[in-house]
Subunit: 516 residues, 2 copies
């Protein structure tokens, strides 16, 4: 009866109704996003438990709306007449259809369970990390593993237990495709690390004075925010706050925020975490305004999103051209860096070191950190590795791939929040894909725009920004991620531009390090 | 059939189900509260329009849940067996019943319309105030008046158009009761102002140096937050931020925030706005934890809430005892106030002046500002005054009651946000009721606890805080406001303690001012 009703419903009325429904979901998700932002910036400690409950409710209400029979009926009716729809509407119907199909696999209560477990697990992880005590959080990880397998069970057609979660983050990707790709990447990186890594622990790349009363912190935030604006971050529609684990987040087209972390003694921490999050934020700020209120208004995948954060952080922010432009600004705020010249600054922020912490790793070692995690989470899901043996396996892989061994759990298996704040599988591949794509997009942009380094040196980033906005940002989720990659770069995901970039850059950096 | 089903449902299962339903409403309201907090603290300008839409959706979803037939059936079933319920549950059923009955009067879409109009009107007001141009916002006020009358129309039994909104904020109060009360108050205050007001415009009460780079701002926030803690504000469950119009807000038992406003040249602004909002926050932090997630977890009425902000701001924060304790702390942060002794500080913060701005008014003139607004909004609702004539009527009343005339609209009719961010009627009476009740509660506390001034001088506020928590805060909305007042103070709302307090205090202050 409902179907008959909708078959007679005029097409534009059906579309309008569908938009109403998805706008409501978007409103709930905006509320959840703000709650998440607040949880990681300003929430008083005593508000944590209630916040978990609030988020679980918003998650459930949002999911209930996504799988609502009316939405499914509207989608069916509109899909059947897709050729009568305008292109944007056709894309909306397709993408929403995919979201609904996935969401329909599990009951709303499952996601609420996951959300609540994630909040409890996060709390336990924070305590475990502080106490350097893995056992405090191991039972939560057991439960997470159980819930992750349960999630995979809702997608019985998947070839691997991790595939449904990978596909949720990076549409179309599978373990079967990623495993050999990452093996090739690892095989290329291990010798590159051997050839370029400097001895000893990492020292502050941009040592600055930690003056009292948070004055140094304020100076760091001021400078990094100014640079963010130069790159194109629109402060009328954004803001910067401190967070222990920096992130970027979108509440609306007019409200895309970044967070950052400050090391009082090293400007590099605030600078590169800001450039990284600004990369994410430029993507979200660059979405076409008329996508607002629909599931199209979002970055298209974890990997493509990460490609933009890494592009702005590394291919821009760690380039010679950038430092020719930025160093005078940096020195105006931090006279203690007056001894640097652009070339020295460039080398200082491009040191390769065998270190323990992923988020502080240089470009050459970074993906090795990611691949360790990817392999270990597959081993956990496949039952080849138990939760209790995870820390040992972690140390073993670090010894083998990176040549360093964690002193404890806090700089080892407990350093990242991902396994302790969501499901297992699907959380890490996006970082490596993002690195690879960052060079692939940058090469395409360079081919179109000419020598970007010269533009950066002149303080001009608008050319690159406009090109990325036109080719990537505007479209949101309208095209599947790998179709977008192919369309923009002319080829599928490929390692070559990335390995070329690393080899060329670091041969030079390593040579400079040897003969200063 | 639904009724028969619930009649057979065991009592505890029905109660559990009802609690589930109200917890969901509470979760949605927590999200809305956070969005409101953010809107007034950190929201980028570009996010304003979307925020209005998000809030309207949360408002609508929350309202839909409140008037849901299942909730009404559960309430009916439980009300019928109220004598079998535990006292807390009986109170929950009664209070929720009242909320549902009120909410059922109007459709969910009405409140969403009001919320969206309020957001647009707020924007227009901000522009109008900046431009000192009443005409920019007048059409919005016309629409607000229309919506306010429409709201009143949903309560046809009300004797006055303002009664439904007054009753929503201050249960049981009516225009018929408040008009003569406020007339008596005005008649007592006008001669008191004449006897105590100092000539000339107000000067900074606590002049401090506005040192550069927001350093003075940081010092002011640090000091006021420290004093807030001394009064009992729990920072594990709270925080302080800047806002153009300070407010306190509760997201959860563990998350009750205050905001404040800083005048770089006068510490009094930040200090008293903090003490005021902390008074609200002590109330919300003092609610019994097991009320969490129900409509009982809230201050009981606008007037009783305001009585606590005014009690902590004025009867504590503007007392001699407080200044004996606090002055050394103030001087440690602000050496430029070293010339003050406690008596001089006490007199400085208790100057009576004929001024234009309500929020900056002293205790003696404050209610005159409120009564002007109360009378004018009744005149608008009754049709005795048109929107276009409002500014002139405002000026005329200020001339007559306070002896001053606004220079423009910004320090006149556009100074307060209330008429431009909600409905008309019901927003102002709570301030005057709160002032009156603050003295009534304080007198009762003094009778129970002995000389509070001596305790304040020794830096001890815990006696007063504990007494108020036990008698007022813990109970939330469990008793109707006027029943609570009678139970705690032994009598109904009465002007006498308040007028006694003002007359005694200001006879002395005025005498001191004449012979320094």
């Amino acid at each position: 009866m409902g179907g008959a009703y909708h078959a007679r419903m005029p097409l534009d009325r059906a579309m309008e109704r569908l938009r109403e429904r998805v706008r409501e979901i978007d409103d709930l998700q905006a509320a959840a996003s703000l709650m998440y932002w607040d949880q990681n910036t300003y929430l008083p400690r005593g508000g944590g438990v209630a916040r978990g409950r609030h988020l679980a409710t918003l998650e459930r209400l949002s999911h209930e709306r996504l799988v609502d029979p009316e939405v499914r009926r509207l989608l069916e009716g509109l899909s059947a007449r897709a050729d009568e729809l305008a292109p944007l509407e056709r894309d909306l119907v397709r993408v929403l259809g995919r979201d609904v199909e996935r969401a329909t696999r599990y009951p709303s209560s499952f996601m609420a369970t996951v959300t609540e477990h994630a909040a409890a697990s996060y709390d336990a992880w924070a305590r475990a990390r502080e106490a350097d005590d893995y056992e405090l959080v191991a039972p939560y990880l057991e439960r997470t593993l159980e819930l992750s397998r349960q999630y995979a069970g809702y997608f019985p057609e998947a070839a691997h237990l991790a595939d449904p979660l990978i596909d949720a983050a990076d549409e179309g990707m599978t373990v079967a495709e990623l495993r050999p790709l990452f093996a090739r990447l690892r095989d290329a990186l291990v010798p590159l690390v051997a050839a370029t890594a400097m001895a000893g622990p990492a020292a502050p790349a941009l040592p600055v004075e930690a003056d009292g009363e948070a004055g140094g912190e304020a100076r760091q935030l001021q400078l990094t925010l100014r640079l963010a604006q130069v790159l194109g971050y629109d402060l009328e529609r954004g803001r910067q706050d401190l967070a222990p684990h920096p992130f970027a987040i979108r509440m609306a087209h007019g409200d895309v925020r970044v967070t950052t972390r400050v090391d009082p003694g090293d400007l590099a921490e605030a600078l590169f975490s800001t450039l990284h999050e600004v990369g994410h934020a430029l993507y979200e700020q660059g979405l076409e305004p008329r996508l607002e209120g629909t599931p199209l208004a979002s970055g298209v995948s974890a990997g493509v999103h990460e490609s933009q954060s890494r592009l702005w952080e590394n291919l821009v922010g760690r380039s010679r051209g950038f430092w020719r432009f930025a160093l005078p600004l940096v020195q105006a705020s931090f006279p203690e860096l007056a001894h640097l010249d652009p070339e020295r600054a460039y080398r200082a922020v491009n040191q390769v070191r065998r270190t323990l912490i992923r988020t502080e790793a240089d470009e050459v070692t970074y993906n090795l950190h990611v691949i360790v995690r990817f392999d270990l989470e597959l081993a956990l899901l496949e039952g080849r590795l138990s939760v209790v043996d995870l820390p040992e396996a972690w140390c073993e892989r670090y010894r083998r791939d990176l040549g360093v061994v964690p002193r404890g759990h806090a700089d080892g298996v407990l350093q990242d929040v991902h396994w302790f704040s969501g499901l297992l599988g699907g959380a890490f591949q996006g970082y490596a894909i993002g690195n690879v794509l960052s060079a692939q997009f940058f090469a395409a942009a360079s081919a179109a725009l000419g020598d970007l380094e010269t533009q950066f040196a002149a303080g001009s980033f608008e050319g690159l920004h406009a090109w990325l906005r036109e080719h990537v940002y505007l479209h949101g989720r309208r095209r599947p991620p790998m179709a977008l990659v192919k369309q923009v770069t002319g080829q599928s995901l490929t390692l070559e531009p990335y390995l070329d970039y690393l080899r060329e850059k670091y041969a030079d950096v390593a040579a400079a390090a040897v003969s200063p």
